[in-house]
Amino acid sequence: MTAPVHPPGRRRPDESMTLLVEVMEKPLDPGYAEAAERRAAAERAGLPSRRRGPGVAVLLVVAILLGLLTFSAARQLRAPQAEVAAAREVLENQIVDRRAEVDALQRQSVALSDQVEDLQHTALASEDPALLQTLRLDGVVSGSAAVTGPGLVVTLSDGDAAQSETDPDPSARVRDADVQTVVNALWAAGAEAISVDDQRLTSLSAIRNAGDAILVDLVPLPGPTYTVRAIGDSDEMQTAYARSGAPAYLQLLGSRYGIESSVTPQSDLSLPGVGNQTLRYAEPSGAGESSQPSASPETSSSDTEEERP
């Protein structure tokens, strides 16, 4: 850039920033000053300074067009984009449709697995009643069969700070580890079947976080309250649970993050089953009776009755 020639000593210190200086110091269009000068000159010369006739009409038309353009541009920019809203609606409808489809298929799957189980039972009832009994117990323990009975209900709720609209605090949310602690304490306290928010836990269930949501067997749980239901001898379970580390842990969560929790015994709980699971290991029934799943928790099924739909 070639600077205009100045005598030395009169150089502006901000010479290298002429562009910015220009913008800052002369924000007004120089045209206005020139036009005012022209008007003044015309007045001095005694000429009429006002425009009239076609010139005025052209100016008016240009002004109307500019007003129209600017207004419609501003309106269009402010309006919610119709296509975006439409696309969103399409996606929402798809989600609803697919969810209904999933529900229908799940119901069908449950009905079919019930049917399979019924057929299995009728076939086995006459041939091998002992094996049938084992199968029923396995169904309870592995979570494939729905069960009812007395038990404990433990609820965990996100702290208030997590639900604030303006500045939600993620640490006040219930995390997967919190639910895991409760579930493990309940298993240790002698629970025979546990569900978290109606997701029955099987011997292969996982409770984990994905983003902000807690997933049980890949199904996201709707917060902010999580309900853990455990079936078992409610008195014994309550005592054993109180002796475990979980209550102290929950108390800590409550005092530090405002996560609320409660433990209530209930006389009648019913947990859903997850249906038949993939068969991974099998041996002929004659070879050995002790083919119980090894990954299942300790169990005594005295309080549990299998629910027959």
Partner: protein
């Protein structure tokens, strides 16, 4: 005066007719609106300075909008659309601020 009347008529016409801007022009709308704001503030300041002229106002308005949109178009063609938009917004933003400050000084003497 004519310019102000024309702009008001244009805005009312926009309210009544609810025209839609062609899709091809939509990427340039934000910059065009900023340029229009710059021209409006410039005109208001000129009015307060006693320098206002309908023709200068409308020509600067029109050329502001067209040049700003053209710069963005050029930037898009060259692959520096976002940067050039930023440049236009910075320059026009500074001008709007200085003009608004001048208007404030006129109105409130402060």
């Amino acid at each position: 005066m004519i310019a102000a009347i024309g702009l008001v008529i244009g805005v009312i016409a926009g309210l009544v007719l609810q025209p839609t801007v062609p899709v091809a022009l939509q990427p340039y709308l934000p910059i065009a609106v900023v340029a229009a704001l710059d021209a409006l503030f410039g005109g208001l300041r000129a009015k307060l300075d006693g320098l206002f002229d309908d023709k200068v106002f409308l020509v600067s308005f029109l050329s502001n909008v067209v040049v700003a949109a053209f710069i963005v178009f050029l930037g898009d063609q060259l692959g520096v659309g976002a940067q050039l938009s930023t440049a236009v917004v910075v320059v026009l933003g500074i001008r709007i601020f200085s003009n608004a400050a001048a208007i404030r000084r006129h109105l409130f003497k402060a």
